[in-house]
Amino acid sequence: MAADGIRASLFVTCLVDQFYPQVGEATVKLLRRLGVQVDFPPAQTCCGQPAFNSGFRQEARSIARQLLKAFRRSQFVVTPSGSCASMLRVFYPELFHDDPVLHKEAKDLAGRTYELSEFVTQVLGVTDVGAAYNGSVTYHPSCHLLRELGVRDAPLELLRNVKGLDFKPAAGRTTCCGFGGTFSVKYPYISEAMLDDKLQEIEETGANAVVSCDMGCLMHIGGGLSRKGSPIRAMHLAELLISQQNEE
């Protein structure tokens, strides 16, 4: 197996841990299916992005120090979140830019950290995970995944190889869904207006599910869909990739 001998530590993220544990389970199942040995350092809590994005860098640093410690001995750190992966890869080194020791640790961790879809395609070299899904799906690229990490194709490649899946691309240019972390409650009216546009875009694809690599986006998009009573399902990529039978 391509992945023999690869050990990955799961960084499950606070959102998934607390609200969407099934996504964490799906991630573990997927990685194991691909031959990865997964562990879960229990001291992990949050990457600190909510504090960092809100301007509370001191608090963000404190939490980041803990996370650096928790994953110090991990060969790889894999996370089912583009925004958390970008926090570790892009912003941890910046957070510690004037502490040479921690900066070095942060850069070291950054070199070992991957978002799930890029881990599967780039590190494991796998684009067909053997999944099957009988339904039509559209994909929402989350902004940090796309523009901070530059991950554009990995999720699409994985989706395209799911047997039976009818892929419905969104028309037009990729636009932010309007979540933006605390933005969603600090500027709710703008966030809602952006959500309306995103929901319209999703509905126009005719897909019966929308998939993304970030639960923040999916919480917001899914929350809007369910409030509308929409039958469209909001799923994390990991959940889709572990499905093996025809669903719905």
Partner: protein, 490 residues
């Protein structure tokens, strides 16, 4: 211009419920981006990326050596027979221009677009001195008549419908109502032509100022840039000090970047290069050329290593056009001359960060602006920097955090600092949410902050068993699988 940046929340809400503004934004915004993309396709994305990098490097070099290049520019303009003025503050700009106008008995001024003149409220200063300033760029003319501020840095009146413009021309100019765009443009031509011919002074902005040759470069489509700088006996160009560019040959890069990023044009109809007043045996042209080089807070960006890159901006407006927040609320919500992503950095720094506290936060940090910026300004990272300064304060910025925000941050920290505390918090929350949750969703909650979410979206209920509890079972399942032997394929 008076800063209303502190009213962002209110003004953005108004914009969201203003039908005309929403119609205008929906109609226009994607056109800008489509045009930009088509213009890039024509030269290929590879060439475009090469230009962006060259533009960024030239700007970075210029700003790092701004003292040298401004001095060279001033020397050259003076050698060309122009007069150079330096203005540190709003008052300096107003005084320089008004005093000059008074000394020359100027009655009427024709203006082609100058955002710096908006920053300092120059029109009001001229009017107070009994001088008539006439905006000649159609969009600026419209908002001058309407007594409004620009809605967009390239298309200042894009929020107005043709009906609104017709009514404006009727009410302010006595023109018959003509709901046809071409006729409205004709009206402006007809009304402004005599102004060009009789004006005593022409005031322009400067898109670029070439230090090597002492040349101000003005990029326009309408022809007003040509007329303002040719007909009146005095031409005054007002420039932000960051507009200087080292060499004449650098202009090839910027003239390829600016029109494409701004309006999707290969080049604008007119590019005007002013290097000084007319020579004695020229047929026409102003006898005097004045260049006003303005700071007005730009030095705050200059001395700030984290924000200095914002001075690379060539004012194309591409970031506004792509920004999903700008596309929803438009320019007036930002409350000052520069809206949108670049405005969220520049406006706070120029008007005072505490007065514009919302601007760095009213962004999802999606990064689209950085992608389209022709000189690759890393806007999202600068917004994060400003957020940090507002909440924590530093040598550039006084802290402006409410006790409530600080409390929330501290509570959050306590909650996540220790996984055991987080677990306890989670159990408590799962218990308390029971009466409010249905089918795993929270709908009607009366908890502050959360209500902002649940107005239009369901909120997920806390899981009864978080992932870290399920991990033990996952481990058990794993060992069972292993025991079943190698036959089980992953």
């Amino acid at each position: 211009m008076e800063a209303r940046t502190a009213q962002f929340k209110e003004r953005s809400r108004q914009a969201l419920s203003d039908v005309q503004i929403q119609v205008a934004l929906n109609r226009v915004m994607h056109h800008f981006d489509e045009a930009r993309q088509a213009a890039i396709q024509e030269i290929t994305p590879e060439v475009w990326e090469g230009l962006r990098e060259r533009g960024r490097l030239i700007k970075q070099h210029t700003i790092a050596n701004l003292d040298y290049y401004l001095e060279l520019l001033a020397k050259q303009v003076t050698a060309n027979g122009g007069v150079v003025h330096f203005a540190s503050t709003v008052e300096d700009v107003r005084n320089i221009v008004v005093q000059l106008a008074r000394e020359r008995n100027v009655k009427t001024v024709v203006k082609s677009k100058s955002m710096v003149s908006e920053e300092v409220g120059l029109n009001h200063a001229l009017e107070a001195a009994g001088i008539e300033p006439v905006e000649t760029d159609l969009g600026e003319y419209i908002i001058q008549l309407a007594d409004e501020t620009p809605f967009h840095i390239v298309a200042p009146a894009m929020h107005k419908s043709k009906e609104q413009v017709s009514d404006l021309f009727h009410d302010k100019l006595g023109e018959p109502r003509r709901y046809v765009i071409a006729e409205l443009a004709q009206t402006a031509r007809r009304r402004l032509r005599p102004k060009f011919l009789e004006a005593d002074m022409g005031i322009s902005g400067a898109n670029f100022a070439v230090a090597e040759t002492g040349t101000v470069v003005i990029v326009t489509n309408e022809g007003n840039g040509q007329l303002c700088t040719s007909l009146p006996p005095i031409h005054v160009a007002i420039m932000g000090m960051e507009k200087v560019v080292p060499a004449l040959e650098d202009m090839a890069v910027f003239l390829r970047l600016l029109p494409r990023a701004a309006t999707g044009q290969r080049i604008t109809t007119y590019t005007t290069f002013v290097s000084g007043p007319r020579r004695a045996d020229d047929e026409d042209g102003p006898e005097e050329f004045h260049l006003v080089i303005v700071d007005n807070g730009r030095s705050r960006l200059l001395r700030d290593a984290a924000l200095r890159e914002a001075l690379n901006c060539i004012r194309c407006g591409a970031c506004l056009n792509i920004c999903p927040i700008y596309r929803k609320v438009g320019g007036h919500a930002y409350g000052w001359v520069y809206p949108g992503p670049i405005g969220a950095i520049v406006s706070p720094v120029l008007v005072g960060v505490p007065h514009a506290k919302d601007l760095p936060f009213a962004s999802t940090l999606c990064g689209a602006c950085r992608e389209v910026c022709p000189v690759k300004i890393n806007i999202p990272h600068m917004l994060l920097e400003l957020r940090g300064r507002l909440m924590e304060g530093d040598r550039h910025t006084e802290r402006n955090v409410s006790p409530w925000e600080k409390l929330l941050a501290q509570l959050w920290y306590i909650g996540v600092r220790d996984s055991r505390i987080m677990t306890v918090g989670q159990r408590l929350g799962a218990l308390l949410q029971a009466p409010l949750s249905r089918n795993g969703r929270l709908r009607n909650v009366n908890i502050p902050v959360l209500t902002n979410w649940t107005r239009r979206r369901d909120f997920p209920a806390l899981a009864s068993r978080p992932f870290r509890e399920r991990w033990k079972e996952l481990q058990r399942a794993r060992h069972q699988t292993q025991k079943m032997g190698e036959g089980h394929r992953g």
